[in-house]
Each structure stands twice: as structure tokens, then as C-alpha cells.
Assembly symmetry: C2
Homo-oligomer: 321 residues x 2
């Protein structure tokens, strides 16, 4: 799919072999200063001067989490890094290093694997991180497993269980755009290119996790499964209710109106139930940081999420099975 003239890997994984492909993938990559030892040894060594390391992992399976007729390999690489980085942001930390395990059929072109890797590096370079190691194996379809390490830089991690009644609930980033883009792609509607892009490569607000932690966020997560579903994780862990106001989300809803009409979908289902934009949502006892939007309040338990004071009957969010 992607050509890399003059220096590209022109053949398949089976033809080139594991080690030749890996050599090409790691060549000319500039590792950040945090990387003491990069790819090529039994393991990498990453500096963790804080004395703690944040770690999270996500697996993406072809046909389940992405489609190679919708996404370029570069898109898939960007998305794989973005969704893992968002998990570290959601702790109030900064992603510093990734390891990537990649399974693919032997007939996969080396160019496509290089484009996947280029997309990963492109996304990681947006926040100064490196891809420090990996594994390349044969599999019946593409499977990408990313693990991210993150640095708290002396901060306490912002967990799910710290929300308290009276806190404000606020969000930074897109809501519903990825779900809208998915619906457009499913319906083969060629308009609204930016929404389709939002599904293929989410725009994570890098650095805002750290901003939220510094502003005293009591709980935080990223919207990967859906706003109501992910706020439910905070509500459950904190033993609180969370009441979201539709009026505060009107702009998100209205921006999706044309796409909703074109696909005969409900834009509220996308805003409240659509995941994968990886917006950050957090609870704050005091003033909100710049750029964060107030969308609701934390109330006394029981643990549940309300929309305008009543339970929401829509899509409860992504489930793996």
C-alpha cells in the first residue's frame, strides 16, 4: 500500500525473513534520551528516574479493531500508539517508550510493515517517545500488541477511585467523532472526511493528562469504550454517582448532526456511547485547567452514571465479546 522508493523493503515477510525485516525497521530511528539501550539485544533498558514506571498494554486484531481496506498501515500504527499513550495520559503521566509485538501472514509486504512502523514512530514522536523493542512473528492475520511505559515525574498517579461528591466532571478532546466516522465508513459514505479520519487515527490531547494531574484531578480515564461506560468505571471505583448534562455536550452533538442524518443514526449515541476518540475525562474539586470543558458533576452514590439526572438507555459502550 505504501511505497518507499529507493530504500523500501520490496518483498514479503516470508521472502525477507524476520531478521532482515527487523534490521530495516530499526535502522535510522532516533531514540529519545530516556532510552539507555534500544532494539537489538535480548531486552531494552529505559531510564525511569522517578523510581516508578507506569505500564499498560493493548492488542489490536485485524478485522476486529481495524480493517486494512479502511486504514493504511500507517494509520494502524498511529492508532496503536495513540490508544496506548492515552492510557498513560489518563494516569497523569507522560508516555516515554513502547515495545511492539506484531504478528502477520508471511505474504505481508515488507513495505506495509515499514509503513506500520513509520506510523508508530510518527505518533510517538509527537510526545518525544521511542519504540525500543519488539517481536515479529507469523500469524494468520495482523495482530498488533503494544505496551507503553510512562513517567509520573514525581506526581501521584491519578486513579479511577478518587472522585468525590461535589467534584466537577470535565473533558478534553473529541467525543463521538470516531463513532460517527465508523458509521460513515460502514455505510460507504464518502463525505465528512474529517470524521472518517477521526475513526482511523484519533487525536489524543497529549500532555493534558499531566495538566489535569497538576490541576488536582481526583480521578481520570480516557474515553476508549464510550463516555458513559468509562465514567461508569470512575463511578464504580469511587463509589459515587456521576451526572452528565446534555446541554454541556450540545456542541459535540451538533457537530455530528449532518453525519447522523446521513447515516440515520443518533448523534447522542455517538457522543455518550461512542469510544475510541480517547478524550480524557476527569473529576476536579476546584477550577478546571485551560481547555477542559465542564460536562457534569459528581454526586453521592450509588455508583452509577446519569444523564440529566436519569439513567441513560443507549449503547452501554464497547465490549470485546
Amino acid at each position: 500500500m505504501v511505497s518507499d522508493e529507493g530504500d523500501g523493503v520490496k518483498a514479503t515477510l516470508a521472502g525477507l525473513g524476520e531478521f532482515a525485516v527487523i534490521d530495516r525497521l530499526v535502522r535510522d530511528r532516533e531514540q529519545p534520551p530516556v532510552v539507555m539501550l534500544g532494539p537489538g539485544d535480548d531486552a531494552a533498558v529505559v531510564l525511569t528516574p522517578d523510581g516508578r514506571t507506569v505500564v499498560s498494554t493493548d492488542m489490536l486484531v485485524e478485522g476486529r479493531h481495524f480493517r486494512l481496506d479502511w486504514s493504511t498501515p500507517r494509520d494502524v500504527g498511529r492508532k496503536a500508539i495513540a490508544q496506548n499513550a492515552a492510557d498513560v495520559e489518563a494516569m497523569g503521566a507522560t508516555p516515554t517508550a513502547f515495545v511492539v509485538a506484531f504478528g502477520a501472514p508471511g505474504h505481508t509486504s515488507g513495505d506495509d510493515v515499514l509503513a506500520l512502523s513509520d506510523g508508530m514512530w510518527e505518533e510517538a514522536s509527537r510526545f518525544g517517545a521511542g519504540i525500543v523493542g519488539g517481536d515479529l512473528v507469523a500469524a494468520p492475520q495482523w495482530v498488533i500488541s503494544v505496551t507503553v511505559l510512562g513517567d509520573l515525574a514525581g506526581r501521584d498517579p491519578v486513579r479511577l477511585d478518587g472522585a468525590r461528591p461535589g467534584d466537577s466532571v470535565a473533558v478534553v478532546g473529541d467525543l463521538g467523532r470516531s463513532a460517527a466516522g465508523y458509521s460513515l465508513l460502514r455505510n460507504a459514505i464518502r463525505d465528512h472526511d474529517e470524521l472518517r479520519r477521526s475513526h482511523l487515527t484519533p487525536e489524543v490531547r497529549y500532555g493534558q493528562g499531566r495538566v489535569a494531574a497538576d490541576a488536582g484531578a481526583t480521578a481520570m480515564t480516557d474515553v476508549s469504550d464510550g463516555l458513559v461506560a468509562d465514567l461508569g468505571h470512575i463511578a464504580d471505583a469511587s463509589g459515587v454517582g456521576i451526572d452528565v448534562a446534555r446541554a454541556a455536550l450540545a456542541a459535540d452533538h451538533d457537530a455530528l448532526g449532518e453525519a447522523a442524518a446521513a447515516t440515520e443514526q443518533d448523534a447522542w449515541a455517538w457522543v455518550l456511547g461512542g469510544g475510541e476518540d480517547h478524550a480524557l475525562v476527569a473529576t476536579f474539586p476546584g477550577a478546571l485547567p485551560d481547555g477542559w470543558r465542564h460536562i457534569g458533576v459528581v454526586v453521592d452514590g450509588p455508583a452509577r452514571v446519569l444523564v440529566d439526572g436519569t439513567p441513560w438507555r443507549g449503547n452501554p459502550g464497547w465490549q470485546s465479546f
Copy 2:
């Protein structure tokens, strides 16, 4: 396959759903003291008082790296942890924490997933590590991706590139047993149960990586692809020749004689070319640590591996494609 009476997960992943299965997998697991925050949040937090973190990842694909008609889910879990831990041992470090991404079909039984997890915990507990996070997704076949973190405890990492002419080459652990077991399984030969076990769950000599580092090892790796192939990585990185003596490996060879006869294979091909036992092989300028066996010497370049002074013509070792 595995029953867990009274408290087991009795249905399938599709029937139970992602979150119910994860709840069951993480319940009652005792995390080691190094784990500041375990599963259940956006990311885990692991203590890394050394200020550096060793990190490595490996992916295992059903039908390629394991077969569920040969291995129990518990075997697969043990092997997945063992082979990742061996990569950390090979740096002279101690594995402390793992994250695991697991893909499987919706019809997979929850009991099997629990048994996989039990096997992982069983193996990790042998060296005091914990499984601190993960991901559970739908996939057409089992795919297990493990990332391991390790602690250098103030030591320099033992890399591939430090071997010098005059160093001794030494090994600790099994050679050829996994390959012999694989051949027995392939030929449906029911004798030599211990060799078949060696293929299904390798016996890594935990702690010996640290011992080698303390003894001044100049280079080290684990035998995952095959002895000659993996020594080739040290030879290439260090720019040296490595000469292995068959006489020093006679006991390894002879122990496999009956299995070799039964399968009409060459036991030398297993000892020199068989991987997956995850023995540790290292180069030492001085005395060998207890339990390590001298098997050869480092000589001047060019970078190559010799057996009794001549290039080896056998199986060059595992390649992914």
C-alpha cells in the same frame, strides 16, 4: 480442559463478557511489593528504584508457537511467562512484573482462560513477579502477547556486544531437550515424557542471569532460536568468532540418544540448532560461576560461530517466516 470446581468460570468468553472474565482473572491474586498499583485502572504502576527498567516483549500465536492439542492452557501460560522472563535474565536482571494481552475466540471457555492465567501466575511466582495488567480481546485464534519488566539492581546490563577473544563460553540450563520433545510430539511417540514436558514448559534457570552478571559476564543471551544461532548474535554484535566444542556438549547429546533413535533424528541438530529451552549462554573473562558449563571459547573475528573449528552445516535455528 481445566476444571475449577465451585468457583470456576463455567461459560465462554462471549457469554461472560470481557469485564466479568477480567474480574475473575485478577481476583485473589497477590501482587508482589514492587507493584504500587495493579490491574483495574488505565495503567499499572510498578516500582523501579534502580532508575532503569529492562523491558522486552514476545508474542505467541496458536498453531505457530503452541498447539492446544499438545499443551494445556496452563502449560501455555507457563511457557509465555518463562520465555519472556528469560530475556530479562539474559540482561543480568530480575523479572519483576508482566502485562499480558490475550486474544481468543468468543467460544473459548472461561475455565481455559483462567487456567492460562493460573499457569502464568505459577511461573511468575517462581521468581516473585506479578502480572500487573493486561488486555482481553476477540481474535480468530489464541494470541498471547507478554511484556516483561525487569530490575537491574544497580548492575550494568549484560549486552550482546561485550565478548572478547580469550573469554570462555559457558551455558546453564538445557540444550536440545525442547527440540527433542517437539520431535517426539510431532511423531506421536508417547515415551520420554520428560522431554515432551521440556518442549511444553521450558525450565529456565531463574536467578542465573544475575549470577552471571555478578561473575563478570561480558556478553549473554538466552537460547531461544538455537545455540549456534544465538551465539551468532553475540558473535555479530561483538565482532568476534566463537568456537564451540562438541566434546563439552557430549552429555547433552548423549541424553537425547534414545529419543533421536526413536524419531530418526540427529541429536546434534537438537543440541546445536534447537531453541526454546531458554538456557542462558554467556562469555566470561575469568572463572565460571557455579553450575555453568564451559562449552567453548571466544576467538578473533570474523564474526561467526564454529563447531570444533569449522562452520556448522546444520539447522541454523528458528526463523519466524
